[in-house]
Amino acid sequence: MSGVIESGHLERELTPEPIAGPAAGALALHGALFAALLLYGVLGGLFHHNLWGNQGSGGAMQVTLVSNALPLPNNQPLNQNVLATEKPSPAPAVPSPKEQREMDLKAIPILGKQTKPQQKTTQKTQMHQPPPMQDNLARYGEQNGTSIPRATQPQSASNGPTVVGDNDFASMFGWYVSQINNKMANSWYKQEVDPRTPRGARVYLVFTIHRDGSISNLQLDRSSGSPTLDLSCERGVQRAETFGSLPSAYNQNTLKVSYYCEY
């Protein structure tokens, strides 16, 4: 009985209202939503391409001297220094502008058709610029082999003759930093992280390494927003237990480390 009343009520609700206007509006709105989704997908895809060569599996390191006498070098040079490639991209672009200039010379007596070759040149240069695949390939290839030197060379060059006490840890003992990365990569189990955690989420931890390699003061510096990611990264450090005794040439007793795990 109540069902009959409800259906009658619904009919009265629906029939008198003009449906075409709102429906067209809704159609337009959903069309716009769909276009926005498509656009987001395409842009998001392009954006993620840029993350390609960024990090190794365990995330990157920032290491500071405990004394904090010197400001830290950025991690950024790691990523910006990826210029030299052994195989530069195929560049047959050189002959084509010559041909176009010839075309221009011939075309001078004719009045109307100067614009077309110009358009072609701009199109070709644009076609050469956008594909990010070559950059990404080069970065990926180089990242694997030479993550240590990249961190060390520029700084040691700028610092000139090295003095142990005054130098930055990462440039002096790049191998120790990469060893922390390697060890963390093995002891951090990504499968412990909830798969709903957004890709690229990062948790920052801070801890102290003592001279004998033991770890203390493990603290969550910046949460990723995902409790499982935070916990898995902390567990990774706990599981590692030790990162090996500090380099004997290093004259401090402790080393502060900021480490992030990126899902």
Partner: protein, 448 residues
């Protein structure tokens, strides 16, 4: 028409949701690239022979080969093959040209090099480890060794230098190049206890009892081996002193019934074993000299194969048959707080990792008629209850034993009717057969 229009938005939304997986698929590729774990590429230069002593060449060959294989066995390096390495033999930091080593084809990020000389019956080795990519301060390690000149010592010095490198670059636990593996071998006619270096070199017999000896367990200080032997009164726990070179008494292990599978606590103070002197097999604990004996478990069904948690010595893992098929359990050392670790199949031979967090054991997960599963080695993380299968579809695998670096595992593998001893990295890679002659089983890796 209006009804149709009413469904158009729904259709569009569903289309949009259907198309999203295709758009986000790029994320997945991005994650894949992040999984690579760059290993350290290391080159071991041939050491430079110094001096004119006739022994130098032979000892240098032994040293070079041992160092090279130790670094390869470590499982943490990408070792530059000798054919790609430069021909140079730098004998000192002044002689090495780092760019030679860091350039292709060697592309090494680390170089181990040095000089070796023999004079007046002494072997002197200088060894360095350089970071080839850090020209400003390349030295990571510098070592000097001075030992009696013999092939054994050349091998030992190479082991020590390799251990230093592995400890430096491996981030923590010491290398295992100087460790030993104890095992049971039939090659003398009866089952006796044997020993060998961790890489299978220098295999030699320890006991000559002419009976059946099983499950050798070396003490943490490398002074004694506990094992079980079939004697006149059944199976007894016996003790062999490596310091004295003879059997020593262990009174608690020879009462009636079967006494099997001894296990040392990591502080050398206690031995746990299984004994059926009270009926069923139960876990018993005595002190290291065989006195002060007491029973820990008192449960129905057999309880065997105890191992201590070497980190705390407060827990034991063992195998119990209380639910018909044997399963892995852990308990506190007083027998309380028993937890079952495996849920099904046929699980035996637990070995507790030196770090205390992992159990390795042998598991046939699909055991029983009509369910022919393979017996494989598994590694189980106690804190998270996650396990990982580390051997796959190759023979029947049993008796895993952790190396002191918690990185390597030694185990026995039976293919056909032949049982041999293998080692591997604890993720199942770098599998290597160490023994060939006779049947060899029940390996036990020394503590240091």
């Amino acid at each position: 028409m209006k009804r149709f229009l009413r469904f158009v938005p729904l259709f569009l939304v569903s289309l949009a949701t259907l198309s999203t997986p295709r758009l986000t698929a790029q994320d997945w590729v991005h994650t894949g690239t992040n999984l690579s774990n760059p290993t350290i590429r290391i080159a071991a230069a041939d050491f430079k022979p110094v001096g004119a002593d006739a022994q130098t060449g032979a000892l240098k060959a032994v040293f070079d080969a041992t160092l090279y294989s130790d670094l390869g066995n470590a499982g943490i390096f990408d070792l530059v093959s000798k054919s790609l390495a430069p021909q140079a033999m730098p004998g000192s930091p002044q002689e090495i040209v780092l760019s030679q080593w860091s350039a292709a084809p060697a592309s090494a990020s680390m170089v181990a090099f040095g000089a070796l000389s023999v004079s007046n019956g002494r072997l002197v080795v200088y060894g360095w480890l350089y970071d080839a990519s850090n020209t400003a301060s390349p030295q990571v390690l510098g070592k000097q060794y001075n030992e009696a000149a013999s092939e054994d010592m050349a091998r030992t010095v190479a082991h020590r230098f390799a251990d230093e490198i592995i400890a430096r670059l491996g981030g923590g636990p010491n290398g295992i190049a100087e460790t030993e593996i104890y095992f049971v071998s039939t090659r003398s006619g009866s089952k006796e206890i044997w020993a060998m270096d961790y890489d299978g070199q220098n295999q030699h017999q320890i006991t000559h009892l002419g009976s059946i000896s099983l499950s050798p367990r070396i003490s943490p200080d490398n002074s004694r081996i506990a094992f079980s032997t079939l004697g006149r009164n059944g199976w007894a726990i016996r003790m062999y002193s490596l310091d004295l070179g003879r059997m020593v008494s262990f009174p608690g292990g020879s009462a009636g019934g079967s006494n099997l599978s001894p296990a040392w606590s990591s502080d050398d103070s206690k031995v746990a074993f299984s004994s059926s002197r009270s009926g069923d097999s139960e876990i018993w604990v005595s002190d290291a000299s065989g006195g002060n004996l007491h029973r820990v478990t008192s449960l129905t069904g057999p309880n065997v194969a105890p191992v201590w948690n070497p980190r705390t010595n407060a827990q034991l893992s063992f195998v119990s048959g209380r639910t018909s098929e044997p399963q892995i359990y852990i308990m506190d050392q007083d027998g309380s707080n028993i937890q079952r670790m495996t849920d099904s199949g046929y699980a035996v031979s637990p070995s507790w990792s030196p770090s205390g967090g992992l159990l390795a054991f042998s598991w046939n997960r699909k055991y029983g008629p009509g369910d022919p599963g393979g017996q494989d080695i598994y590694v189980f993380e106690i804190a998270t209850m996650h396990w990982l299968q580390v051997t796959h579809e190759s023979g029947s695998n049993d008796f895993p034993s952790w190396a002191p670096d918690t990185r390597h595992i030694v185990f026995q593998r039976t293919i056909g009717h032949h049982t041999q001893i293998w080692t591997m990295i604890s993720d199942g890679t770098h599998q290597q057969q160490l023994t060939n002659a006779g049947d060899n089983s029940m390996p036990n890796w020394s503590w240091k």
